[in-house]
Subunit: 355 residues, 4 copies
Amino acid sequence: MAGSTFGKIFKIATWGESHGAGVGVVVDGCPAGLPLKEADIQKELDRRKTGQSKVTTTRKEADKVRILSGVFQGKTMGTPIALWIENHDADSSKYELIKDLYRPGHADYTYQMKYGMRDYRGGGRSSARETAGRVAAGAIAKKLLAHYKIKVIGYTRKIGPFSAKKIDFNEIERNIIRCPDKAVTDKMIDHIMKIRKKGDSVGGVVEVIAKNVPAGIGEPVFDRLDADLAKAVMSIPAVKGVEIGVGFEAAEMLGSECNDAFVLKGKKISTKTNHAGGILGGISNGENIVLRLVVKPTSSINKTQNTVTQKGKKATINVEGRHDPCICPRAVPIAEAMVALTLIDHVMRQKLSRL
Amino acid sequence: MAGSTFGKIFKIATWGESHGAGVGVVVDGCPAGLPLKEADIQKELDRRKTGQSKVTTTRKEADKVRILSGVFQGKTMGTPIALWIENHDADSSKYELIKDLYRPGHADYTYQMKYGMRDYRGGGRSSARETAGRVAAGAIAKKLLAHYKIKVIGYTRKIGPFSAKKIDFNEIERNIIRCPDKAVTDKMIDHIMKIRKKGDSVGGVVEVIAKNVPAGIGEPVFDRLDADLAKAVMSIPAVKGVEIGVGFEAAEMLGSECNDAFVLKGKKISTKTNHAGGILGGISNGENIVLRLVVKPTSSINKTQNTVTQKGKKATINVEGRHDPCICPRAVPIAEAMVALTLIDHVMRQKLSRL
Amino acid sequence: MAGSTFGKIFKIATWGESHGAGVGVVVDGCPAGLPLKEADIQKELDRRKTGQSKVTTTRKEADKVRILSGVFQGKTMGTPIALWIENHDADSSKYELIKDLYRPGHADYTYQMKYGMRDYRGGGRSSARETAGRVAAGAIAKKLLAHYKIKVIGYTRKIGPFSAKKIDFNEIERNIIRCPDKAVTDKMIDHIMKIRKKGDSVGGVVEVIAKNVPAGIGEPVFDRLDADLAKAVMSIPAVKGVEIGVGFEAAEMLGSECNDAFVLKGKKISTKTNHAGGILGGISNGENIVLRLVVKPTSSINKTQNTVTQKGKKATINVEGRHDPCICPRAVPIAEAMVALTLIDHVMRQKLSRL
Amino acid sequence: MAGSTFGKIFKIATWGESHGAGVGVVVDGCPAGLPLKEADIQKELDRRKTGQSKVTTTRKEADKVRILSGVFQGKTMGTPIALWIENHDADSSKYELIKDLYRPGHADYTYQMKYGMRDYRGGGRSSARETAGRVAAGAIAKKLLAHYKIKVIGYTRKIGPFSAKKIDFNEIERNIIRCPDKAVTDKMIDHIMKIRKKGDSVGGVVEVIAKNVPAGIGEPVFDRLDADLAKAVMSIPAVKGVEIGVGFEAAEMLGSECNDAFVLKGKKISTKTNHAGGILGGISNGENIVLRLVVKPTSSINKTQNTVTQKGKKATINVEGRHDPCICPRAVPIAEAMVALTLIDHVMRQKLSRL
């Protein structure tokens, strides 16, 4: 039931499958007056698209976006903005061979059990291709956030055993893995390439930071900013966990270590540390929002795996093809999009909190 | 804006502050015909209430629930069920002393920035007292899930450095920390008691398992079961992270390790391992749902901390009082409630997925 | 499924039955900082309550409201406001006699068919008693509208064949029928009293005007102001129709008659006539909002009627008791409440329409 | 804010303007397994399209629909269904002349006041062209209703002074005015043609009947079936009123006349009359749902009207062009669509009402 709609104020409805006419999104709730052109959106889609480097899938999709409504004379009108990204790589013949097999780690089995049918071509709706619609909508969210001086920045924090220790924002888009620490970038890339050669895949951690979020954003007790961010990024395919600030480290901390002391920075109330990741009681406190999400290794691997057929027979499968050996580099713009969509919804909701 | 409403089908609206007339909840969307009495709800509230053991706060609140509507002749009628838990411990004098100070780790500052005012008595709406409403509604969700044979079980997985290695469901409610592994229970309790003596607090990890969830539950692409569970538990005060299945371990895994092979158990399609935590592509696969959440150490500590006043002056604060030294034991029923509320919403949504 | 929740921004959830512990409402989404006391709400409830005059039911219910949450130091806090109106007239013995009979015009049969059960005491949830929760929430909406200078005024426009020709706002609360035209007030009252004596009831038309609604309120294409107002008043028990501006007269009008010419009143753009009832394209145009709703004659009459039993046998019924002979006088504050709730939701939504 | 989304279960989001790339809709929440092809939708669009007869506008738009997603192998998949109807009649030059003038009866002024800007070409989003998206989504709703044996039938009940006295369903689609009474069809058409010649327009009443709706559909107390139907049809451009069953006639009726006696038809509980229009207490009672809506005369007329410019100067305007002299014939399929969308939402919600 209606699970492809996201947001309460800046509301989006995405649609589309891997091998249909395309993927798209309707943004219902963008305020009037925002300058918007296709290039604003294309820029973000290009960061998500396939074939952008040797650490991504080598499939090539143009991912050209078209604005179908909602913009007039270069500005949003306050009416729904429909975006369409046409599909071109429509060769679904290879999927005919595995249409009766459930690919391990994929949603073939669960879609079949949910709907009693499924589009087996490229995963259908469960394909990561669907996220193009999110990135497109997220691009508008980012533009709107920029109006409020808010900036959302994502990067690869960890690949296998290699973690970025340093966060240099300038470094991120300079390397194909979107790593902010020059010192580990090559190690990460080598690690991926080695695993790819074996037909295998590897997981990683993406971190997203939101800067200049004013204090006061978030709607307790359920629509807390952290809760809505958690939902947003957990809804990205392959994400298996999310944490804010110190996250899971909090389990071993004492209150006296974990609490962020309030201090004055000039006249501004701030905190000495940011263990909270910018959120207290579900509401932003004016510090950077910091969250991390873990992505599992790509489920499609060029290795023989045990599975069963749709009719319930034992079988083996080898998901040949051009898969991402690691999802992180392309997950970065998707995670940014989901964070941006969540933030703009909450920034707008805050306009309603006080008389 | 309207952040105290949760769920799309089994919808709840909670209300209440720490020092007002009480806390409560309206459940709008419970189907007609479910046997329900106050004792069903009281049982769960008693697991959450204060003063239940030496590892919880020593404050005593009766937390007696009253059903005000929606039940007739022992059954739900399909109409809204209003529940009220009256407040009794209404001594707010001690809060007068700190009403101009922002307590570190608490939501005093962020509520002030959001609403331009706040109820400083016991944290007002940001008090964990609010969760009584969730537990009460969750008790109804649990009863309804039981109708579908689904069971939700939570327990303390980790306190500071001590982790349960074994999960014995029978053990959980036999000890005050709700630990499922007899071997570490005493260590956990000792650890908490030592920290309490120092006026400090400690964090931990709670794990929740849902059994007998049929395959097919969850609504991609945004209202995935994992995404909605993540939101649900992240909305609990003090939770800083959530993970499903292998969670953050996935970052270091290979696809060939992480993928759960499909196997036949008799005629039932199942998976050999459960790294996915029972969810693939945002939809349950019939295995146990397994999720973990990390709770930070209680923010209220009997130690002097640096802070600022509401007027922006440097100050120190010592949050004296009877605080929980560790939130885990009482967080268990709250986490179960949020998982149950999410599951029942999705179980009902699944009725709408196929013709 | 969850039909007792209303509004998107200023969201209310009502609860309660005729013979339970009471009726109430949770208002989730009222901004912080609004001065609010129980008397503000009581004032409106007193206009709705039973036994207020000879043209209403002679049952007496105190309808005392209690604010359970959301208000601190005389102001709303931005957190949910829970209101409770306790039931006192709990004598349900007379309903035992008719518990197997479906009362014509009432919802006994439809509730039974919907839920497979029903609370037969006083109509249960289908009782007009439920509207006390609406009026209580509406009182808060009215206070909030007053902050924006918007005023909502309702009155009885027609009873049987007698219509008010003149609208004198000062007259409305001076007479027991809430008629704005002194010349027909007595005729209306006499008409009702005559019908009451025969054990019968009569219908009527209520008109509601909203003044000072600025141009620009309403959210096409579905959440138009007129559409949401129509839903709001049609959700009141016994309402069978709603019209805006010229309403059903438009069927016989020409475009050249019906169009309201734009004119300048000083520097303000206005319209020469107000056939549109203040709404163009679903958005307010700055003129008075004018809507009318028709209420059917009270279904409970002291006359023998044909019906069937729950088991499907022919029967007759006479719904003895103290019924309103005409719903209009008490429907006026209910209609005002529903209009106010709709308007405040839209006034707040408008804050989100432009950059 | 997000006003172009409709429905809770079978949720639609429409988009598009009169002179953009087209209009469309995303249906999020259609269950899997419904046979669906473009022809099913085209059939309904053809009933709405321009240029279909001498009583409609002579503009010609092909209104060809394309299914972009959600259907595989001829069946819905449970995933979002995106529909696109491309615009072709894109000549907007004539609108340049009146872009600074507010057309009386139109939404030019109110859109400008709401959004601070507007697309003046053909009314932009406020154009009735937008309703093509509704009709397209409604066609799917109708197919789904047919699965439950429910049929929605609309027709022109009244044009100016001429009313259909007899309802012959077979007659409706045989005449260009969609009138069910052969005896008045020609009078209605003549009336329209005479008014058209004068450059003027005329209003009318459309009636919609839903057959075979089982008892028990509707969600009190706010999402009553009548309330949601009222919103649905009132959201159609030019509609100024809606009534159910006896509607506004109820004002002059007595309870003893208005109440529908329950009777047995065989073993089925039914009512002797259907003054209620099939709805009691907001829930269907198993009789035909009967509702009427009034449409105002088309606002665009070839006559000189007084107005003001955007800058606030007095002016006159003559909205030349090819306008519908009467909206009724083309409003019939739109009204049916809105009723169908409301009904399917409620039919599906009913699956959740009982254990």
